[in-house]
Symmetry: C2
Subunit: 591 residues, 2 copies
């Protein structure tokens, strides 16, 4: 061992001990006749003292030291004259008597402090340096703690951790699969799992009763800021349970994590149906840290010769408390906000309910005071409030107002990252119509069960069938979701029919699961939580990259190891594949 | 919840309680006016009583029940008349008052008992039924417990669990990579990790100090019985450590696992150099549950006009205690054993040291009593023992004798699966010459450091350089291995030169690691344990498949989900790859 202690543990109790530390040179300060070196390791920082008076030879030797050199130092623990109460080792320093350079370091390409001058690309290329920064390191330590506490809770609840395979079968229902050519089975491919869904269901058929796994999953999607081609989920499944049991179990897990990791006692987990969420918040993952619910005023606002409203399917607004004094500039900014292509509204109607009781709106031409008063009453507005109203096709308008609501919440400081509001969203639709492909897709996945009372609608109005599906939402972020599954072969077959599968296709892709249902499948259901996102929420960041040791960029590249990359012709040949001719000149010639 | 209790927990303390259970119909016994059903779930078996006298309606209803039906039963806990002391619920039964069939079951394709009539192929195809068997289920539960205790130990030792990426870079040094075509980067590929080796080293450069992960790894090799294309390892790395620190740490882990999982207190972990292991056991993973060390008798056995010996580089034998009375048939069987192509010896010389003191051998023509007595003395043989001697080219002969030694150990009952003998094998060679490719390969991997005192041999006699590499062997099985790594750019570069890399190749494949070494890399080292193999050793089986929930067969196929399988032309097109013409008629026509 190169050290007797770490750089995070020495304090006044160790005074006059001789210790050996090893770590990185963090900061160097030369004073007259004294040089102080802050030595850093994973556990903390300890100050080293090299003094010209007590050890000239050593004092001269350290002149070559640079930032991030790896050194080993032996010395005596002494009391510091100027103490640093910010750090646990702040009362002592090490009077160095010996020291070795274990490895030199060239100058890092960016500053390795909490505040760095490195842009994301640079930090990702040198991720091993980025992780030295406390700001990143603590995220990885948090992630470990989260995994540990998750396992602790689920182990105590008798869940069995089972590793499901990574080399599985391509079943292109849902997102795109990553595939792996099989050398031993020429022309055939494995796929990487988008989730262990069918395997965990088979584990229920196998009788394992309560399963979990913290598991890597893979989706070959075009990436957005909060998506990664490989991501991690806390994946769970239980047998002989109803929806209520699952909600309680994972409410318990969430509570445990917040309590043990953040010291936060969560309140009751409210519940809301999907229909309510869409009606009152315009989205299925409402941020419930603040109210500002939608109020529909279609009936009272129509018929006053305002063509925009008169031609609208829906007129709906929110009431921004205390915003009646918004300036022209502020209001224009809101109009610009809703007109952004990402939001897509054509315009915004506002009504200022002045503290003097006078209502002023952007549609005064069409609406008298008493008309606007009706809106204000419907929306529970009081003097001093601002009404913001959008109109148009119902679904689109709700979506737009949802964005505006979040923007107002942010502007009004109602989205405190240190406040945590949980919500179960229930009763999702089973199916979702896709205009492009002219067919239904499963909103959750094809294994989700319909509500018993809605099953007959599968024949008459599939779009109205509700599912036994639920999402866990925290602060407007979908943290996880799940469902009670189908465990009956006939119903599963019916479901595949609704999704436009022929019998052959269903049997070819999912025959193993439907067959399994014939051998005594128990009622079962489960849930998966997005682990990367959960970690980032606990850490107070919106970017999951900050909580992944070696993330990929938005083009799916690992900038550090520089991959994906080309492979050799020999490898391609062994795998019985060719690149498309345009990509491979050599190959193009052969044909 | 479909149940109030599990099938494993009710006993006399629950008498007269009304309970609801859910599970699988395990066994049905019809007696006159009574039917007993054994209900099974993950936790155990509970006997249900359906009585014609007390509940005729129910009694008639259960006539349709078949094995493996999933049912829910409510009833009263009563004392059993004929108790079963073998199971925790053996004192009670449930007098059923209500019951529901939750799902029917067709007849399973093999018997779901500890002893089954299902062959491996059938059991793998219906793995979800196989896992219902206690014999398989307990293996998966053991695996969970092993993972849990591993984490417990390493967490307590301040290791951080970090997830390393699965989509990495192909670096075809060592085994073959599985690769994943990148859609977003046409013509480029990810590779699946054979181990997180370079990433864990980068985590050390990043300052994380102690890393672990229980992680899936992938190797596209032709499979043998104990190999799987995807396998799991306990992967660890530490900074500022010497070999001794790592040996102690993982001796501690092994001890902890044996103690907590098996209740076994392991003795000291002996150590042996690679050279000693090869000399005395003919292999680098000797089974040390028994001695039977090799004794070289080249000098005393040569020169007696026995041409086979006289032309041999090495003459070496073992002494099988108490086997002098082996019959002709037994001896012939041993000769056949060593002549099997898997062993490859040309013949076997034996000497029986009779209880009467007379030495009889298969080479009496060439050797007098006093010659044979010298052999016996050299080999520490006593009256009643049997000497078995092989000869030929040194390395090959040792390998053959190693096989024979294990066979004799088995025959003599010296390999008790309930006895556990650990061993550290140290000082492996750094490099291994490959005749086929006419170059050196790294025996462990290219990141393993040479012993300081041997570094100069890199220039003069690379084959003789010893590495700071170690293997953990238990009962003749290599459970894991590791090394102190190179942490210096120059030495790493020199190592790649020894392996025949050009500077460009080394920089292209491993530039990220060599660059990282310039920014202050600490001395570090680590170890990886084969988790599947460790589990199978703890479970008392030699097949790792028994400890993997969904293993693949020796052709790399998952028989249950039937994969690898073909993917669609659309998928191939998106990935910019073609199958080789011979595999794809459609494509073949195009060119």
């Amino acid at each position: 061992m190169y050290r007797t202690h770490t750089c995070g543990e020495l304090n006044k109790n160790n005074l006059s001990q001789t210790v050996t530390l090893a770590g990185w040179v963090f900061r160097i300060r030369h004073l007259s006749k004294k040089t102080f070196v802050d030595l850093r390791d994973r556990y903390g920082v300890t100050q080293l003292l090299f003094s010209e008076e007590t050890n000239l030879e050593l004092y001269n030797k350290i002149k070559d030291l640079g930032r991030e050199f790896v050194i080993q130092v032996t010395g005596k623990v002494i009391e510091r004259s100027s103490k640093n109460p910010e750090i646990p080792t702040g009362e002592i320093e090490i009077e160095a008597s010996e020291f070795n350079i274990l490895n030199k370091a060239i100058v890092p390409p960016f500053i390795l402090e909490d505040e760095t001058d490195g842009g994301e690309d640079l930090r990702m290329k040198y991720r091993y340096l980025d992780i030295r920064r406390n700001a990143v390191k603590k995220n990885l330590l948090l992630r470990h703690q989260m995994a540990k506490e998750t396992r602790k809770y689920l182990d105590a609840q008798n869940f069995v951790e089972v590793e499901t395979p990574v080399l599985i079968k391509s079943t292109p229902e849902g997102a795109r699969d990553f595939v792996v050519p099989s050398r031993m089975n020429p022309g055939q491919f494995y796929a990487l799992p988008q989730s262990p869904q069918t395997f965990k269901q088979l584990l229920m058929v196998a009788g394992l009763d309560k399963y979990y796994q913290i598991v890597k999953c893979f989706r070959d999607e075009d990436l957005r800021a909060d998506r990664q081609p490989e991501f991690t989920q806390i994946d769970c499944e239980m047998s002989f349970v109803e929806q209520e049991d699952i909600l309680n179990m994972f409410e318990g897990l969430t509570r445990h994590l917040f309590k043990t990791v953040k010291g936060v006692d969560l309140a009751e987990f409210p519940r809301m149906t999907y229909a309510e969420a869409m009606k009152y918040y315009g989205c299925d993952k409402p941020d419930t840290r603040f109210e500002m619910k939608f109020v529909e005023i279609t009936d009272i606002a129509k018929g006053k010769n305002f063509p925009v409203f008169d031609s609208s399917e829906l007129i709906v607004g929110i009431c921004a408390k205390g915003c009646s004094e918004y300036s022209r500039k502020q209001l224009d900014a809101l109009v610009d906000f809703v007109k952004r292509p990402q939001v897509g509204a054509k315009g915004l109607v506002y009504v200022k309910y002045g503290t003097d009781g006078v209502l002023k709106s952007s549609v005064d031409k069409f609406y008298a005071q008493e008309d606007l008063k009706k809106w204000a009453d419907a929306m529970g507005a009081q003097q001093g409030d601002l009404l913001l109203v959008l109109s148009g096709e119902a679904d689109k308008t709700r979506k737009q107002l949802s964005e505006l609501r979040l923007e107002m919440g942010t502007q009004l400081g109602l989205r405190d990252p240190n406040v945590f509001k949980t919500l179960w969203v229930l009763d999702f639709p089973l199916l979702e119509w896709n205009e492009e492909t002219n067919r239904f897709f499963a909103m959750h996945h094809p294994f989700t069960s319909p509500k018993l009372e809605d099953v007959s609608l599968l024949d008459t109005d599939p779009g109205r069938v509700r599912a036994n599906a639920y999402d866990l939402v925290i602060n407007g972020v979908e943290i996880g979701g799940g469902s009670i599954r189908i465990h009956d072969r006939k119903l599963q077959k019916r479901m595949f029919e609704c999704l436009g599968f022929t019998d052959e296709e269903a049997q070819h892709q999912f025959g193993f699961l439907m067959n399994a249902f014939e051998f005594g499948a128990p009622p079962h259901g489960g849930l998966a939580l997005g682990f990367d996102r959960l970690c980032s929420m606990f850490g107070g960041s919106s970017s999951i990259k900050d909580y992944i040791a070696f993330p990929k960029n938005n083009a799916g590249r690992d900038m550090m190891i520089d991959t994906p990359s080309s492979i050799s012709d020999a490898q391609l040949k062994e795998l019985n594949i060719h690149l498309s001719p345009a990509l491979s000149e050599g190959e193009g010639v052969k044909f």
